[in-house]
Amino acid sequence: MTQVILMLAVGLIAGIAGAILGLGGGIIITPVLTLAMGINIKYAIGASIIAVIATSSGATIAYLRDNVLNLRVAMFLEIFTTIGAILGAILNGILSPVVLYLIFGLLLIYSGYNMIRKLRAGSEILQRVHPDPIAEKLELNSSYYDKAADKTVDYQVEHVPAGATVMFGAGIASGLLGIGSGAFKVMALDTFMKMPLKPSTSTSNLMMGVTAAASATVYFFNGSIQPLIAVPLALGILVGATMGSRIMQILPSRWIRIIFVPIIFYIGLQMFLKGFGVNI
């Protein structure tokens, strides 16, 4: 019974945080399950996959309705992440995860540094963007309504090929390592494609559920998903993510970025060190 209440509570917190930051919640869930509760890593990974989908589905309803996310960007880039995810699953055991850990660890640290630069510059929206012919052809430029600032924000999307490449790599990494479902996506959208933070985290939210669904059946049928762990967790997350998707819209982007910076540094460092076999 205590375990159930703990699962519901962990799910609630992970759901709120995941919906606001566009992350899958693995950063909260995996350590609680494995370290605090002593659950086998196999079941923790299975629960994480369910958590990603629950966060994504709980949050996306509000983000779609309130026009925060960018559906075109999501669907275009989803081609690259899903193909990457399938490739990652196939390459499991062939490709060395060490290189991936190092590359993505460094990329996340760079992304954190870039976020600090944006915070210092004080401006959320890049005013002098270079018009990107690919973004125009794909109609990726858009606008969203910012409830915190009470205005509609127009934005342009840049460096589509770079973003697509990062998304492809992110797909491979999540298929192969089962990690970074959301962090890599926010990084590709915010750091590489220069999207504002709110459309980035909400678009990441929509995408990570679709990518996770691509690998979820593997875990579902190989017995990694334990209903007694996954169900209370998922129920807590659905409630949390619904709340989080409302909170995020009234938070100033700057605050979200300030919360984001230490988290992205932590995930980056953790991944980089894992490449050298050090677990933190």
């Binding site: 589905s57 899903t82 669904a213 691509a214 593997v218 579902f220 017995g223 998922a234």
Partner: protein
């Protein structure tokens, strides 16, 4: 002048249609999430009453095992069904997006989103076999 009015009316009509489509999509997604949540909740309550899941605690899960468990209302099988419905909610999202782009007459994105759906279904299929 008349021409401009007609144009405005036409634009207004399209944006109204779009708003309706977005509301409809939101409703479909919400229903999908609620259905999976309710099934999970029923299974969870049933577990509280039955005291066991009725599923083997280790090893692979087969569709047959879940189906048999469902017929005798075993809590574990009901929970697994709820989780499976939850896994399908992102797929539902892609399907309704195709419809949304179709209504917007955005054929490029009807193709792009359909490609995502095909890749996703392929992945779901290889995951099972």
């Amino acid at each position: 002048m008349d021409n401009k009015d007609a144009e405005n009316a036409e634009e207004e009509k399209i944006s109204k249609e779009m708003a309706q489509v977005e509301i409809m999509i939101g409703q479909i997604l919400r229903i999908g999430v609620i259905i999976s949540a309710v099934i999970m909740l029923i299974g969870f309550i049933a577990y509280g009453i039955q005291g066991s899941t009725g599923l083997p605690s280790h090893g692979a899960v087969t569709i047959t095992a879940i189906a048999t468990g469902l017929l005798s209302f075993k809590s574990g099988s009901v929970m697994m069904l709820g989780l499976f419905c939850l896994i399908l909610t992102p797929v539902l999202r892609v399907v309704v997006s195709i419809y949304a782009f179709y209504v917007e007459k955005d054929s490029l994105y009807v193709w792009i989103t359909s490609a995502v759906l095909v890749i996703l279904l392929f992945a779901l299929f290889i995951g099972h076999s």
